[in-house]
Amino acid sequence: MTFLLRRLAFYLAAFIAAATVNFFLPRLMPGDPIQIMFASAGSELSLENLNALKLTFGFIDAPLGEQYLRYLQSVFTGDLGRSIKYFPLPVTELLGRALVWTLGLVGIATLFSFCLGTFLGVMAAWRRGTIFDSIVSLTAICSSSVPAVVVSLIMLFVFGYQLGWFPNGYAADPLLDPGFNWTYISSVIHHGTLPMLTMIIVLTGGFAVTMRNNMINLLGEDYIVMGRAKGLADNRVMLWYAARNALLPTVSSLAIALGTVLGGSLVTEVVFNYPGLGNTLYQAIIARDYPVIQGQLLIMTGAMLIANFAVDLSYVLLDPRLKKA
């Protein structure tokens, strides 16, 4: 219990640190930050707009300490201010619309890549030194070291433009009304396939390499030898003796991957013009919509912290030694 409480306190501190960065960044800019933000956002300087922006960043007539506390208070009550570009739309609402698409696209892609990568990693480790292992390892290294931008652009070029199999943008046909019917759903699937494939290519390699190396390290352990000496079937030793134990460290990388879901798909979403969180962040960066950019950082940090806490929880459940600590 104390272990979890200590972790919770740590995550709270980390979140406050991220919020502090957000608070001080505009204050470190030379000149009047609010004016600069408006100038670079290129929008009309209405009084109402200006005041909203000042509130977002905690610029109030008070000493710095009080400004900081007020800012933290608004962050913790879930008030991330209003977008400059789409004024007066609140940042939380803008991000909420995009969240659904990102969760669907990246959530499924991450889970699928995890299963596929883990499976390939187990098989490669079990057959290490064979041609199968070489092919899996080399493909995994290649796919995980090539930048996501490059994979996305090549996929778009080949399947979107050259072959014309898939559409080049949007989450669904813009002419269709969103609804729970087959026409709309099939359009969503058709539009989502290419970005999803891209993400799977980018993500699977990393999971496969991690799992392979974990598993190979375990294969020399005594209990594996024991399992074989008892004359158990190969598959049983592979899956129930080796893979099960090698999986524990990968659970944490899955959780971290899920935590970065909110930001990880950035490039893919931009290239395929997919209306998720990553694309929203990109549009906000182009428009220099600072409240939206900062809101994203906080939300992504929050997601990452929750994912980390989930890892801690799973360790307590999976590893009995931690229960006593």
Binding site: F10, M29, L153
Partner: protein, 295 residues
């Protein structure tokens, strides 16, 4: 030096090193490889690859091949510069935290964990957005300052186990100063971890620089692969059919990433003998058969 010799005997490492060496040579001898300047208009917009322009031209009439070979300089400089900074910070802090222990360890460890849980790419985007148009140097500096945490964690945990070894204990008994122990007893035994950290950081820096620039946070006047992607995307190169404009930097980034990843994988195999396959594995199975090995 044994690490280096072992690298030369590893097939993956040799392929990776060859690729890297080729790209470095291209970057150094860029002016001899092309007659064109990377920043001057030398042809009509979006000309297809031809004998005059090997990789075609961009929308602004720049020669793609010239931009590609000159751009290698920036990608390599940012990659190795930021990679070096990340590795130095990570290694120094990791060894100090692991060896000194106590309050110093607590403080370093706390900050490391904190930096680790704040997602990196969004943080970089926010920083770059506030800076405006970041030059390659600025990108390298922010990368160096924000990405050292993983290195500290790995180096620290390895130092913790090395600290208990006999030779460290005996150096302590002899009264050697602690900086000397850290630099000459512990550091040489971390060399493969430092190597993996370095190459991994270089890959990360190259990819991140290209990504930041592609997203429009770089200085558009730079000649680099990321800016090439950005310009090509802005010129809608794919929809007007000028695929060479976009695919050339894609290919270059992919090859550089691949070369570095092969080197990294090879160092991993050398540092961790169990991961080795091929020749090593055969010898091991033979040992097993004659009853020397474990399995």
């Amino acid at each position: 030096m044994t690490l280096f010799r072992q690298l030369l005997g590893n097939k993956k490492a040799m392929v990776g090193l060859t690729i890297l060496l080729l790209i470095i040579l291209v970057a150094i001898f860029a002016p001899f490889l092309t007659e064109y300047s990377p920043v001057k208009r030398v042809g009509r917009p979006h000309q297809a690859p031809s004998w005059e322009h090997w990789l075609g031209t961009t929308r602004l009439g720049h020669d793609v091949f010239a931009r590609l070979v000159y751009g290698a300089r920036v990608s390599l400089a940012v990659g190795f510069g930021a990679g070096l900074a990340i590795t130095i910070i990570g290694t120094v802090l990791g060894i100090i935290a692991g060896y000194k222990g106590g309050v110093i360890d607590e403080v370093i460890n706390f900050f490391t964990n904190m930096v680790l849980v704040v997602p990196n790419l969004p943080l970089l985007l926010v920083l770059a957005a506030f800076i405006g148009q970041a030059s390659p140097l600025v990108i390298a500096v922010i990368l160096g300052l924000t990405s050292w945490a993983w290195g500290v964690r790995v180096t620290r945990s390895e130092t913790l186990s090395i600290r208990q070894r006999d030779y460290v204990k005996s150096a302590e008994m002899l009264g050697e100063p602690s900086w000397r122990i850290m630099a000459f007893e512990i550091f040489p035994n971390l060399i493969s971890i430092v190597g993996i950290n370095f190459i991994g950081s270089v890959i990360f820096a190259v990819i991140t620089e290209a990504t930041l620039e592609f997203l429009g946070l770089g200085d558009p006047n730079t000649v680099s692969w990321g800016i090439m992607l950005y310009n090509a995307q802005n010129a809608s190169a794919l929809s007007v059919g000028a695929w060479w404009d976009l695919l050339a930097p894609c290919f270059a980034l992919a090859v550089l990433g691949l070369g570095l990843a092969l080197i990294n994988f090879a160092i991993d195999e050398i540092a961790n003998p169990r991961l080795r396959t091929g020749g090593m594995l055969n010898r091991w199975t033979r040992m097993v058969r004659i009853g020397e090995g474990k399995l």
